[in-house]
């Protein structure tokens, strides 16, 4: 068991900076997720922790030990790869036992650990099979088993679920969570899938262009995104961004844009927000924070705007509506039982206490 700390870690490939002064720490037994679009540097960061890439600048610590110059085999880590990277010429048992054999564990100890892990992962009947005889999910379990038997200080996962079909992915996600609760091994997990990030991570680092844009627990990231990128990346369908101007009338703040003028609630009118009065901002609203009058008990003033419905997507448990509001496209997540049809003009209500405001230039959140 150990913590993982990255201090101002930078990785350059020639002139290209893949990872830019990343500072992160995963506490002992914590499950940390690095999430971001492809090319954001998340995998490179993970590979540096594993020792598969050299660090250009900065320090990486596992426990109290600075591991920059420690080869992968001496870092006491285990890694699970996207394509599983099983040894095709070894059966499942030997795939899992390989690391222990190299470390010269006694035969009985190896046998005990492999069988225990196989039991835990439900692959006991596959121990004699070669990887090519297994399904994707089973291979993934073997790869997990190979990591577990070594009982390492840190687990590193590099998009381990992205080669599985959607149904299996959901199941393995739950299994991974259960596994972590049981083993309590410090874990760094890389994914491009924001759902995986939200469901698995105790803390999530959102990365873009080699930078960590925000590092917080999932709910904080969702509720208080630090900038427009994080706000748009986390959440599905993504947050609505509307160009607007902050106005003050009779001591009250309004966000005004094409086709809407909405009242900023008193508790959200902080000093920082007031500083933007008369300036252009980006107004952000999550789809589920848009409702219709039928969905709210008492209506408050200064929240309504009108849109013409273009497309409706009923998902059974919810209804996604794409509407046109004076040239802006707005997505709303509504009650599925509402009788809304394309072409119809609908009055929407914005949950303004949950609105987001961003600086138009820096794209940073205004709080």
């Amino acid at each position: 068991m150990a913590e993982v700390r990255l201090n101002e870690v930078t990785k350059k490939f020639g002139g290209f900076t893949a990872v830019d002064r990343v500072t992160l720490e995963a506490q002992d037994a914590e499950f940390v997720v690095l999430v971001g679009p492809s090319g954001c540097g998340k995998t490179t960061t993970l590979r540096m922790v594993a020792g598969l890439e050299e660090v250009t600048a900065g320090d990486i610590f596992i426990g109290d030990r600075r591991v920059n110059d420690v080869p992968p085999k001496d870092r006491d880590i285990a890694m699970v790869f996207q394509n599983y990277a099983l040894y095709p010429h070894m059966d499942v048992y030997n795939n899992m036992a390989f690391g222990l054999k190299l470390r010269k564990f006694p035969k009985r100890e190896i046998d005990r650990r492999v069988r225990e892990a196989a039991e835990l992962l439900g692959i006991t009947d596959k121990l004699k099979a070669k990887p090519r005889e297994l399904s994707g999910g089973q291979r993934q379990r073997v790869a997990l088993g190979r990591a577990i038997v070594r009982n390492p200080k840190v687990f590193l996962f590099d998009e381990p679920l992205s080669n599985l079909d959607a149904k299996l992915r959901v199941r393995m996600r739950a299994e991974l969570q259960e596994l972590h609760q049981r083993l309590k091994t410090t874990t760094v997990y890389v994914t491009h899938d924001q759902v995986e990030a939200m469901t698995l991570g105790q803390r999530v680092a959102v990365m873009k262009d080699g930078l960590v844009l925000q590092y917080d627990d999932p709910q904080t990231i969702y509720d208080h995104p630090a900038n427009m990128f994080v706000a748009g990346f986390i959440g599905s369908p993504p947050m609505n961004f509307l160009e607007a101007r902050l106005m003050e009338e009779n001591g009250r703040l309004y966000v005004q844009g094409k086709g809407f003028k909405l009242l900023v609630p008193e508790e959200r009118a902080t000093d920082a927000v007031r500083g933007y009065v008369g300036k252009d901002v980006v107004f952000g609203l999550r789809p589920e924070d848009i409702r219709t009058p039928e969905m709210v008990r008492e209506q408050q003033p200064g929240r309504a705007f009108v849109g013409k419905v273009r497309v409706r997507e009923p998902l059974g448990d919810e209804l996604i509506v794409y509407a046109d509001c004076a040239g802006n496209e707005v997505v709303a997540k509504l009650d599925p039982h509402l009788a809304i049809q394309p072409g119809q003009d609908v009055t929407f209500l914005a949950a303004m206490e949950r609105m987001h405001l961003f600086d138009k230039e820096t794209e940073q959140a205004i709080r």
Binding site: L52, M79, R146
Partner: protein, 288 residues
Amino acid sequence: MNMGRVHWLYLAPALLMLGLFLIYPTAETVRLSFYGPRSDVFVGFQNYVQAFTSQPMLIAFRNNLLWLVVFTLFTVGMGLLLAVLLDRVRYETVIKSVIFLPMAISYVAAGVIWRFVYTFRPAVAPQIGLLNAIVVALGGNPIGWLIERPWVNNLALIAVGVWVWTGFCMVILSAAYKGIPKEMLEAARIDGANEWQVFLHVTIPFLKSTLAVVTTTMIVFVLKVFDIVYVMTNGAYDTDVIANRMYNEMFYFYNYGLASAIAVILFLAIIPFLVINVRRFRAQEAVR
């Protein structure tokens, strides 16, 4: 038309060609091997007895065995080493092209080139051979590379073969090496393997079938080795090999019977390796 017979119609041209140019000559060679030098007297196994007991043939057998072991070991071994090491080098393609280049040269030309390299002059004369020039420049006595028997001259000939064929082994093995998923090697490193253990436990097993094909290909070649020896020494100073023996029996001594017997022996020796090679190749294709 009777469909049971029609396939023979389509096969006929190919079978005819095969029969005329492959099966008939083989059968005829086997028949001739039981006859005397001028193919008129039936002599039973006498040619075979001579092939396995005469002094020149025993030397040829010994040399072929030497070729088999040393040549195969070095071409495949160095090919593998180069394939793995060059994968980490910046100018990989340039270096590989240079090493592969001798494959484009005919064996006769290679033999001529290496005769110059090996040229020997008595110590008093200036050395015009590259190798002896170096030896003398370093203060040594010139060596009769193609004369000193039995090790120096045979190994010198084998070195030429290795020079020609290492590039071939390297290219095939390099292609296979590049097919190894990099994550698998990384997984092994994280599992605790050092570079040598990665090579031994992951790389080699992964390359197993390719190694087998390359090795058997080399063995088939080496059993038939002829041109290099014919051009460089023509078997003098105990450097003869089976194929060169066969050629000489045939075209210098006009002993058709003995030459045919040697051909049959060579043919029988190669068959097992050919079978292995074809089987391996099929298995490899089946996996794809």
